[in-house]
């Protein structure tokens, strides 16, 4: 049997980078670049991706890539776009790829500014739910009840109390042409979304769930499996919003209970250690059920 799909002649994100074993983000980035092709300029903020791809002299990026500082990838991207526009280099597209810390928290203002200006930037958030580069501190993207080093579970805590910031909806409220959520568990779907985003001009946002074996504590071979469980539990809803309307959702063929997803990750282990924890799991189930209802995620029986 021959290879079923096209593969690139030359990889744009090569081996030798220093991502952890089984890194969901690294996998995602390989496919982002397969989908965008090489006529791009990438901008990344400080974070896992930046750190594992840029020790001096050892870069996996076969496209132009710039890291400036932590807060400003969206603004740097705006600057690149302005330069390209002035220079008449319209065919080269600008793609920002940043983690959740940079996107949800410290770079949130700059992101909003870029969206509001209508700059032609595809911003991709590779979301592993914490400041993983520095050891796993909470971000606004950390799901509620997950334990992190700054929101640890303890005698008086069930992990993060605050709900995950709904950044895709906040971004969509800026009135931009394309917003989507994706997962590295579904690579073809991810690439389709990137390709579709590239057909639009103006600001676009894609948030990719990138499971993190190191940070979420699961064996490194389970990265896609964990991603699938997250999606099929309803906790990680996958949808596309084009010009303000939901145009597609990824249906869940077989819904799995959230506990099946949570129990495989040490960051939720505290929920299985007490009766109180088990009650919290019910709240997480309600959250997942809420997503399923809101986005119509269950396949029609």
């Amino acid at each position: 049997m021959t290879v079923k799909k096209e593969t690139p002649d030359e990889s744009l994100f090569v081996s030798g980078h220093r991502a952890c074993h089984g890194c969901g983000m690294a996998l995602g980035v390989r496919h982002i670049l397969e989908a965008t092709g090489k006529d791009v300029i990438l901008v990344s903020p400080t974070g896992c991706l930046e750190t594992f791809t840029s020790p001096y002299g050892l870069s996996p990026w076969r496209v132009p890539w710039i890291h400036h500082v932590f807060e400003n990838a969206p603004a740097v991207a705006s600057g690149v776009v302005a330069a390209l526009r002035f220079q008449g280099r319209d065919h080269t597209r600008v793609v920002a790829i940043g983690g959740d810390g940079a996107t949800f928290d410290i770079g949130f203002g700059a992101l909003s500014g870029m969206l509001e200006r209508g700059d032609d930037v595809l911003y991709i958030c590779v979301d592993n739910g914490a400041y993983m580069n520095t050891g796993g501190q909470r971000s606004a993207a950390t799901p509620a009840w997950a334990a992190t080093t700054t929101d640890p579970a303890g005698r008086q805590s069930m992990g993060k109390a605050e709900m995950k910031k709904n950044l895709p909806e906040i971004v969509a409220a800026h009135g931009i042409p394309y917003v989507a959520t994706a997962s590295i568990a579904y690579l073809r779907d991810l690439k389709k979304k990137i390709k579709k985003a590239m057909t639009y001009h103006g600001p676009r946002y894609i948030q990719i769930d990138t499971p993190c074996p190191s940070g979420w504590s699961f064996p490194s071979h389970l990265t896609l499996e964990i991603g699938r469980l997250g999606v099929n539990s309803g906790l990680v809803p996958l949808f596309e919003k084009e010009n303000g309307e939901i145009t597609a959702t990824r249906k869940i063929k077989r819904k799995i209970p959230v506990a099946d997803y949570l129990k495989k990750q040490k960051r939720y282990r505290h929920l299985f250690a007490s009766e109180r924890g088990r009650l919290e799991i019910e709240k997480i189930q309600a959250l997942a059920d809420g997503h399923i209802e809101k986005y119509g995620l269950l396949s029609v029986a």
Binding site: S59, I66, H68, N72, A75, V76, V81
Partner: protein
Amino acid sequence: MGNIRVVEGSEAVALAVKACRPHVISAYPISPQTHIVEGLARMVADGDISAEYVKVESEFSAASVLAGAAAAGSRSYTASSSQGLLLMTEVLYASAGMRLPFVITAVNRSISAPINIQVDHQDSMSLRDAGLIQFYVESVQEAYDMHLAAFKIAEDPDIMLPVMVCMDGWVLTHSYERVQFVDQQAVDDFLPPFAPEHHLDPATPKTWGSYAESDVMMEFKYAIHKAMTEGKPRIQAILRDVSALTGRDNSGLIEAYRIDGAEIILVALGSVTGTVKDAVDELRDAGKKVGLLKIRCYRPFPHEEIWQAVKDANVIAVMDASFSMGSEGSIGLDLKAKLFGRPQAPMVVDFVAGLGGREINARTIHRLVARAEEIHSSGLVLPESEWVDLDPTIVS
């Protein structure tokens, strides 16, 4: 020579920037620089300038836009003041480290708290460690002239650093002065398009913003210092070229005014130097051997040029409009560091004057000179800066 018009200081700067044909301008308002970006906005709205004008949501982003544009191969510009300049600090350090050239007008204004919108130099002085080239101007005309030089200096292949042109807020930006403009053709002949060695381009994919381990970090940082210090001749050559263009000699890293035989030399920068020159004339008329050393290029610090100018004086009276809390005035720190150990170096007395826009007039300077003489006669080296016109009775 070009035409002469009476214009507001901000307008002169906007016209200088326009003449330099930037590709990208970012804009965020803060008093007292706002007239500059507004002037540029009007030019964009009328199609008189073809730059991409990016209206950002903070000064952090204003500087970041310039970094992205410069990396992508475009000449870029913004203006800011005070709190806005401080907000850019991280971006400016990173841009210097990545050798990204652009020009920022620092319209000098004091730093909170308390909040005060009048002029002093705390804002730009707080950034002097970052690896930017810094100039301070005396007049609107000099502001115009220095902006013509700034882009060429920033983009020089051996320099490749951000350049900050500092001009006093309100005093220069909002006063009207007779300015002689340079013809566009002459500016175009002087300033070729930005042509960096590297820029973001899919045809030659490069990685910008690597991290450096301890084994190479010092060398990367030293390279910035080296570019600045070894860049002094290049900076002077470009300033001389601008002088040829304008017919005005602003070519020195310093300007010495009536230094010959001076026993007391005042060191100052910015618009106050105009007042100091008047005071020096009055004092000279009265028989006092006083002179002024105006520092035009503050970073790289022109210590050799300063030494040659001041070495025969008895006392140097530094006029600092910024202060390093817990230590001494900014220029005082730089100057004393560089003169220390020089044979028979003059005594240096550091005066802090003008913070928060407090008036400095000729009489202030006369008092300052008298005080410097007194201190010099006493032979005592002062452990602290002298805060001029301070009312200690209200200090809590």
